[in-house]
Amino acid sequence: MAEEVRKQLPSLKDSLSYFTDESASTKVRGNIKLQLALEGIEQHAQNKGLSPDNILSLTLVITRGQFGDSTNSRLVKCLIPATTVPEEAAVRAISWICTNKPSKSVQAFLLRWLVLVYDLIDGKDKLHALYGVLFFFIQSDVLCPHVCHLLYLLTRKQDVRLFRVRPLLDLQTRVGAQPHLTGLLSLYKLYRPDLVNVPLNKTPRVFFKQTDKAWAALIRQVQLRNCPREERDQWLKTTQIPITNIFNDLDPTKEPLPKKAKLDCIPAIGYPGSLDQSSAAQSDKVPVQLIGSFEELLQNLDNLELPSQAAAVLRSQYLQHFVSCHPQQHVAHRIGYWLYRTLRQDLVDCPSASTKPRVEKLLKALINFTDFLQEGVPLCEMFLWEYLFTWNGLDHRPQILQLITRSRLHPFQRLNDYVLEPLRRLFFTSKVHCKCQILACLTELLRNCVSVEWARYKETQSNEEGTSSLSLFPVDSEMFPALQSIQELVLYVDRLCVVGLQQEDGHAMLMHYTLGFFELVTQLQRRFDLPLVHAPSAPIVYMAMFDTNALTVARICAIMCGFRQEVTSLKQKPPQEESCGFTSSSIRNFNNCILDICDALWRCKAFSSGKNEASIFKVPRALVKQTGIDSIGDSFSLYNHIALQGFAHTFLQKSLPSGTPITPRPRSRQSTLDRSSYLDFLTSQGLEGIQGFISSFIKVGKSSTPCSSAPSTASSTTTTGSRT
């Protein structure tokens, strides 16, 4: 019986006519017609959604109060819009709640529905007019969370009045600091800080529990289905968000609503009220659609009006300029809040294959925005941490890695737990290309930290209030040793590189990115004025030194030179309270590396230092003898090094008279002139690091006969303020 009933569900028109018919029976039990009609509506709503007229008539049915609570709740759940929701329906719903006739649960349902479809209501004037009425509902315990959420979405600056702030504060003292009340109060405080004196936590938190995820997902799916296919395909093909410069395309007096906005989750730039010339003359604020060029933006910079959806900033370059010149906290807060909610919904709660292109577009727009501001959005950082916790390493990888590079300075433990540990897991479980991507991301993260975030951190520490001139999204940051944090980051990446290079057997691309990272590290003192010096650890130096790639050898020599220059310039500065990495043991390690490289390259004495144990890879001398390779000391000299042999061959071919066999003269018969011309040749081939190394670390005697040249090392006199 039940199966037969389900097969013959009535059409939408019939179901609706059953309800709109005044004399229909309202009994629930045993009323087959009612059940059929309900199921018909439900099925249709979940597949295609209801048109605005249908929504209006169904709302009228609900608010007539004719049917019981269970029927009403099911009907509210069916109010899934196909395109938009007429404002009249929202007004009727609110007015019915005022009568207090429906039960509390149905009232709560209606409010939740309003919150979910808020973006789709086609006009909001009447809702703004009903603000006071809605405000009254905070007194009810059941409705309070949902009403607060709706008010959060509706509030404009002129709605924040003292007679509204007081009841909120009273309510908060009565029931305690509930998150929804705190959320509404913090929004009021942003608009009118003079009215709200209560100290509120400035950490970015999101205040409203997401209770209806499945319902919201259903609404989104229906919306997605309802766009005509051509529009959807055409939208998917566009890769860039167009700058909506309506002035050039359309008549600015008409209300602009680009069709793509329906699919695109970034809200269109819309304003409350129409764009008639008459009403525009009343206020002196200029909406951004009328700005045609950069000069007009500069002229109108003072009285540009922000759109009602703050996140529309992501669409327009002009708005981004405006927002960065006039940092206003409530705008920043709303942008962050919207981004967090949308990203979380699309990536964590209900991701699906159909939302992937849309999410990618949003992420790209977000990356453009953060690159423009040179600052990350704190709420997005929070979202990123939650996402990395369960990330599978594949979805949206380039965008996620780029977003990570904009992280703020945090104490190292926090950065490790939330960001570095997931990256490490991905690093060791992926192939070389992904490892290189992660290393590039970490290099950019370090670059961002030292160039932008370090200055920002110092400014927020010196500036007592939260406002800062360097960032749009000021965050109350606690005191922590930032320099140590950066140093630990460098050490961490160092370690990662060592094990990664071993795992990939010294792969050339991975080595290239590793050397790129250390080239950045050896510029910290001179270029970014950061008192931090760090030489690459011994395994990396030796792996690069004995690599088969000539460019690697040259680059590691250049990095060693760079480190010496760093240390020299740090010593020349007056001693500072904190300088990291400048300890006697680290200098000693560095000196050992220098000595070994000099021995190998210049003095032809690789693996045969005076101590018992050669420090290259800690190979004991006895073992070196046991290998039975004769003249092992010579094997890594400038001419014989496996990476440089090709160059040596070319050079000797040119320089030696023809007919002689092409071998370098033995060490005892080489003159300095020979060597210096060889080094010049290497520099002309692009390997200038080697000549730089030789010239800064080895004092060559003036006579032409070879003499023992003394390698000079970095001295380790400790300054007064360094750590030991």
Binding site: F207, F208, R341, F428, R495
Partner: protein
């Protein structure tokens, strides 16, 4: 609560504990053991791993089981298990409790880089019976990493990626790379956030 559970479980005999080093390794070959309850997709994952592995020159053998300890009949013919992957499906409570009891039958040497937890069905939090925090707490307790991926749901690309990721770890564990699994494990810094839960109020 934890103490009661322990007393209910039967004692694990020492000979039943899976040990990594009581058999000789085989050159250019590796064996992986996938532990997970029914329906978690072990066979599909095994097939992906073998497909990926055919051109790397490594002879991979994948064994699957739904519970530990392993039956005694095959102990002599079974090769050395190089790597163990415990599969947890977040929509299946039974898979989590299977893994919880299985980790007790494994020698502690495996948790020095020769084992990991694979978590599937991570996306879309509405169907989850097992919280991600419980899984991460288990992983932290055994100091072992976890990998999130998809075996049954989603596109086959995800399964191939997951297979590739597991294979990187298996190769390290089988001795084909120049690092030992413990060295890889050592790059991890101590995590500190297990106890304190930051409060996120979500919309």
């Amino acid at each position: 609560m934890a103490a009661e559970e322990e007393s209910k479980m039967s004692e694990v005999l020492p000979r039943e504990i899976l040990k990594p080093f009581n058999k000789m390794p085989v050159r250019n070959a590796a064996t992986v053991l996938l532990v997970g309850s029914y329906g978690t997709g072990k066979k599909q994952l095994a097939k992906s791993m073998v497909d990926v592995c055919t051109d790397t020159g490594l002879k991979l053998q994948v064994r699957t089981t739904t519970s530990l300890p392993l039956p005694e009949e095959n102990t002599d013919t079974r090769p050395r298990i190089d790597y163990i992957a415990f599969i947890i499906d977040l929509t299946n409570r039974l898979s989590f409790s299977t893994v919880q009891s299985a980790v007790q039958c494994v020698d502690v040497e495996y948790f020095l880089g020769k084992a990991c937890f694979v978590v599937t069905n991570v996306k879309g939090t509405s169907d989850h019976c097992v919280e991600m925090e419980e899984v991460s707490r288990l992983a932290d307790m055994y100091n072992t990493m976890y990998i999130c991926g998809g075996i049954k749901e989603g596109d086959p690309d995800e399964r191939t990626t997951l297979a590739n990721r597991l294979l990187q770890l298996v190769e390290v564990s089988a001795g084909r790379k120049k690092v030992s699994p413990l060295l890889v494990d050592l790059t991890c810094r101590q995590l500190s956030f297990q106890e304190e839960q930051t409060e996120f109020y979500t919309v």
